[in-house]
């Protein structure tokens, strides 16, 4: 253990670039995954069969298969059908899929938790279905789902660590290359762990805080 801390301290700053890539990957996955998740949350109960089947397929596979399998599928699999993507793009695609599938269920839960009286009220006011979705169900449903969506975002950030298996130069792969070039594996991984910790723990507190604040009126 002697000498671990100086090593960690000297490796830590060299990993900031990797952390930035991890955060970018998280942000992009949420940016594209959340709207898709909202779409699928309606798709899984849609009247239109084609829409429903496609949504159910993406949601069930996205939730049922490990993120690691989706990552490898996109990176090693897509070239078989003549689609070759950069490692960042394929990692992004896989994590967008995961995000959309998980958030579809979370958003669905939020929308179902909107009080029935709200729906009745909008019917009584003669609102069209589109207006009801836009002004009543989606805003309130998303508000209810927000704490769990924030919790998911933390897990997603942690899951970006798997993108190192498809050669994305994110935090984990930076730590690994530092470890293998200097043989200081333990300090490198401890430094990476500290950086993950520095983001996920405050983010978790934030989601707990959001949960408390949003349920204040109850």
């Amino acid at each position: 253990m002697k000498g671990l801390f100086p090593d960690v301290a000297s490796i830590l700053p060299t990993l900031f670039g990797g952390l930035q890539v991890s955060l970018t990957l998280t942000f992009l996955s949420l940016l594209f995954g959340l709207p898709l998740g909202l779409l699928f949350s309606f798709g899984v109960i849609a009247q239109n069969r084609a829409f429903r089947y496609v949504s159910v397929f993406f949601v069930e596979v996205g939730r049922g298969a490990p993120a690691l399998v989706l990552l490898q599928l996109m990176y090693y699999g897509l070239p078989n059908v003549e689609i070759t993507l950069s490692s960042l793009a394929s990692a992004c695609l896989a994590l967008v899929w995961t995000t959309a599938a998980y958030t579809a269920e979370l958003i669905r839960g939020g929308i179902q938790a909107v009080p029935a009286a709200e729906i009745e009220g909008s019917d009584a006011l003669g609102m069209s279905m589109r207006d009801r979705l836009r002004f009543i169900e989606i805003p309130q449903g998303l508000r209810i789902a927000l704490p769990s969506l924030m919790g998911f975002a933390v897990l997603l950030f942690q899951a970006t660590s798997l993108a190192y298996t498809v050669a994305v130069p994110e935090l984990m792969s930076q730590a690994y290359s530092t470890g293998s070039s200097t043989f200081k594996y333990l300090p490198a991984f401890v430094a990476a762990g500290l950086l993950y910790l520095a983001i996920s723990v405050p983010a978790t507190w934030l989601s707990v805080l959001a949960e408390k604040r949003l349920s204040r009126h109850l």
């Binding site: 049922g64 897509l78 762990g193």
Partner: protein, 215 residues
């Protein structure tokens, strides 16, 4: 024909996927118990220490724990095997998540149950074994099985340190044959098939046991 080869490749990994999942769930369950005790402790220092451990275990991605254990930890000249590192790493992370699940379940047991047991003069051991434990366990089952399903998928992370489970063999097959797309779809299908009966069992137990818990 090629489909059979792929299925064979994926099936080779099945035993270790199941082994890693079962062992780390077992280890996590056992280690979760002292953590729950710490999280329920009235002693501020003990509570803070346990809270810190749980946040530390959950705040670092599982793959980082696996790498720390596999590459970083050595006892003298002895290094951990990949399987040991995977089971211990995933077990530790599970302990933290399961401790939170158990803590919530214990908290949901109705206050009157505690009062009634102390009124009836139950000792601590009997209180936990016969009153609180069974009721908390029933409440915890849906979340516990859901975590188990999640762990089944997380066991794929063991492939990164060379445990020969499903993703490890799929990956090997994809590299050798250059046919990545189908083999990973088959792997995905196997994970879904494995988690389906668990999910059904969980929903069944949930509806059945919901009625048996006093509230």
């Amino acid at each position: 024909m090629i489909g059979m080869q792929m299925l064979h490749a994926v099936a080779l990994g099945l035993p270790l996927t199941i082994l890693v999942t079962v062992l780390s769930l077992g280890l996590g369950t056992v280690l979760a118990l002292p953590l729950v005790a710490g999280l329920r402790s009235g002693n501020r220092a003990v509570w803070l220490f346990t809270r810190g451990i749980v946040d530390l275990l959950r705040g670092i991605p599982p793959v980082v724990w696996l790498f720390i254990l596999y590459y970083g930890v050595s006892l003298g000249a002895l290094r951990m095997s990949a399987l040991q590192a995977a089971v211990i790493g995933l077990g530790l992370v599970s302990a933290a998540y399961l401790a939170e699940i158990f803590r919530g379940a214990i908290g949901s047991v109705h206050q009157g149950q505690w009062e009634a047991s102390s009124a009836l003069g139950f000792r601590r051991g009997a209180l936990w074994a016969r009153i609180i434990g069974p009721q908390a366990w029933r409440t915890a089952i849906p979340a516990y099985t859901a975590y188990g399903i999640g762990l089944l998928k997380d066991s794929s992370i063991a492939s990164t340190i060379g445990v020969a489970e499903i993703v490890f063999f799929s990956n090997q097959y994809a590299r050798q044959s250059g046919e990545g797309i189908f083999v990973f779809f088959i792997a995905a299908g196997v994970y879904i098939l494995l988690s389906m009966p668990l999910g059904m069992l969980s929903r069944h137990l949930d509806t059945k046991l919901r009625k048996a818990v006093a509230r």
